[in-house]
Symmetry: C2
């Protein structure tokens, strides 16, 4: 077995069978929602509900205890009252189960009594060789298997980000927003109180996991700072890591303690740790995912020279301004390059940088010819493209005109698809990143396509600049 | 007539008849799209296409020239080649038309020759008393009339923001994003080259216009700084103004010149102007609209003490951290208040501030009882609520369970609607602002409802904090 397959998190993300504790036939318990979600997420392994009284749970045969399961399950998912968790751990140990996720709360996040119970739980686990996530967590998601053990039934397309989070919300409640943003997980784990497996284990595992292309961390406090430093330093050599740390203010620290019993520390100390580990620090939760997406899909930005390409004067100017504020250079192109650009844009456009095509329907120029020409020129290190949009505009007009306008919308979509596929190959061809923005979302097929092809497309021009900044920081950190 | 009705922009936003120059029966010209959009936007006034050759345009009787129109139109919308605009202005003047929007480009934004043509156009307009918006602009939107003269057919619900923009994109291309964000215009004008009517006129008009509750400005450069100072100072006494200025960097200034021939100036000088005028400066285009929405709907924040209320530990901690970074205080509540809060939340929750209900289905507590209790306590100046969500979660599960789960989703929605209506009355009752956030969008009926009731709901916790900061700056500026 590879080191990845030996890692304690491997079977938690890839169980061949799951025993579920806490599900019933009532529609009001969390465990029931989790069981339903495992089934509806498309999980193909075996599922064993365990219930002291019921012989059938949600249409599946149920077992009275772990000791009576027909096999040692790869994973136990536990959502029952705190004190019962300890007994279940003993039963699981006796049955030979080695991995668990403990959703139940009431442990160290609630104070001294809970802390003692948590220590007891760890002791039982150690005695049987059980490794577990939680307690007081929300579970894991592996959209590639697929498996979603959480109680959030939202769709998640497989992606490239490995997320480790001290907040279950940032694993689950964000799913509708992530889906609309075209951002997908490779894996996600809600760490909870980290009684056993913790953020260091997650970083270590993601480092070995080839489906994870970038690592995103939501941190309330690091419990094993020395190991964190050692592992994060090693992993970030090959994979980008981005982190949101919220424990560096008094209010953030106080809230973190109530939440997961987190041990936070001063902002300066954490910043020092992040710098040593080449960890890029995100200022807010949206940036955490948006930057991780760019870092997973685009090559690092190796210099400061940015090209801007759009058909809109306002976003051109906003992008130019935001780039310079971010420390980038938006240099005027050479006369030679401007001359070649002018052959592709209308007379009313601007070829200087930003390139502003103004209102033009030359999609091939905007989405491929100009980016190719500019990236091949050697005059820039990366490109920001505003105005990704497919058939939406025309579809609206065909509707608005009550059939008076005849526009071959489907042909247009097909044509555009071909152009965008060529666009998506440019970053690898030139080893230079492209990020984009649009005021349309994934309801527009062009936005959905570029995102799915790995060109980040953000909902406002300035967010594209921020993501480019993350790619720059990555480029600097691995120089 | 009131001063509002005498203002040159009044008939431009409320024309009883519009002559359209540039529309035809071809599906590829901008003028055609504008005409179709006027019709499909629901405009109830008269529309007169003017075309030298066609007797019918898009099903309407067309006229060969302005001189032959059956009446002097309230407004002329002009999208024809530059040199022809000058002739059309003379015809309009002879026919007695006093207001125009000139979409056509090729004027001062393209250099010396264009500059001369623009001066000539102004001269003709003055000789006939024509006041006009543009050239090189994209038109106006008045969703209350309704009227949309632009070529963007996207839906826009009537709202409270008066937008004046040096970018047509920020009037039009943003519409899908605004709609998804629950943000609506009262009026919007794309100013273009500002040969005649300019940003000062727009601020002045919005100041008088009772449907405008806050004013948003996208600025590439101010052409009449003294008048701007005078008018903005006066108007901002009664209505909040928020501005995005992008001409303060070299790259932004260069791009602005190519775009609208803008005269930008140093960031410091503009900041000084904004300070003198109580103008709140937005850092990016999304914030411009998001803050304008909060400023239009919520009372100003009169102090720094913020309460945070949620059912999610991660957002609780993020909000606490972001609040403190923004200069707010997230003080622990008094023992007395905490005791009363604990009666409304589960034992696993936290009552300290942030209030974290944890996973709880007590919607009345989260969305009304806690906000009311906290705002009435006198311990805070404003409240941020994370986790607005209605029936989405249950709808997903009913689908996921293939009918196995029976949940009365419609009853739940009705119940929630009653609670949220009570929530929306709290800011006026206590003169204290509430802003909220959710990872759900308007596809969720609770998010759509709170936004429509005037409680801003942003797509991430930190954006709610930023909007609260804008309300604080407003509160400080009118002390």
């Amino acid at each position: 077995m590879s080191s990845k397959e030996n890692h304690p998190l491997h079977r938690i993300f890839h169980p061949r069978s799951i025993a579920v504790f806490g599900a019933s036939n009532k529609p009001t318990t969390m465990g029931t929602y989790q069981l339903l979600n495992i089934l509806s997420s498309g999980y193909q392994g075996k599922v064993y509900p365990v219930h002291p009284k019921l012989s059938e749970v949600q249409g599946l045969k149920a077992y009275p205890s772990a000791r009576e399961l027909p096999e040692a399950p790869d994973l136990a998912l536990i959502t029952i009252p705190r004190d019962a968790v300890l007994e279940v751990f003993k039963d699981l140990g006796e049955r030979g189960c080695k991995r668990a996720i403990v959703i139940s709360g009431g442990f160290k996040e609630v104070g001294e009594e809970g802390r003692e119970k948590e220590q007891e739980l760890v002791k039982i686990a150690r005695s049987y060789g059980i490794r577990f996530v939680g307690p007081n967590c929300i579970g894991i998601i592996n959209p590639w298997l697929p498996l979603n053990t959480t109680m959030y039934p939202y769709k998640q397309n497989p992606g490239y980000i490995g997320l480790a989070s001290h907040s279950g919300t940032y694993v689950t409640q964000v799913l509708p927003w992530l889906e609309k943003s075209g951002i997908g997980y490779a894996r996600a784990v809600s760490l909870g109180n980290e009684a056993d497996l913790n953020i260091v284990d997650a970083i270590e595992y993601y480092g070995e996991d080839e489906q994870v292309k970038s690592i995103a961390l939501y941190i309330e406090g690091i419990r094993r700072p020395k190991e964190f430093l050692k592992v994060a330093k090693r992993v970030s050599r090959k994979k980008p890591i981005v982190a949101l740390y919220v424990g560096g203010t008094r209010a953030g620290a106080r809230s973190g303690v109530s939440h997961t019993g987190a041990l936070s520390g001063s902002d300066e100390i954490y910043q020092g740790v992040f710098n040593q580990c080449r960890i890029i620090r995100a200022p807010d939760v949206a940036s955490l995912y948006e930057w991780a997406f760019a870092l997973a899909t685009q090559p690092p930005l190796k210099g400061k020279r940015i090209a801007i390409c759009t058909h809109s004067g306002g976003p051109a100017t906003s992008l130019a301004d935001a780039c310079e504020r971010a420390g980038f250079e938006v240099r005027e192109f050479s006369p030679k390059l401007q001359k070649r650009i002018r052959q592709l844009i209308p007379a009313t456009g601007s070829a200087r940088n930003p390139v502003d095509m103004t209102f033009s329907v030359n999609l091939d120029a905007l989405y491929f010819q100009l980016p190719e020409l500019i990236l091949s020129s050697g005059e820039v290190d990366g490109l920001i493209l505003h105005g990704i949009e497919g058939e939406s505009y025309y579809t609206h007009f065909v509707q608005a005109s009550h059939g008076r306008l005849k526009i071959p919308v489907e042909e247009l979509s097909g044509y555009l698809r071909g152009i965008l596929k060529k666009l998506a190959q440019l970053p690898a061809r030139f080893s230079k990143p492209i990020v984009s923005s649009s005021f349309m979302g994934r309801e527009d097929s062009a936005v959905a396509l570029v995102q799915d092809l790995g060109i980040p497309c953000y909902p406002s021009p300035e967010r594209a600049v921020l993501a480019m900044k993350a790619l720059y920081l990555r480029g600097q950190s691995i120089k």
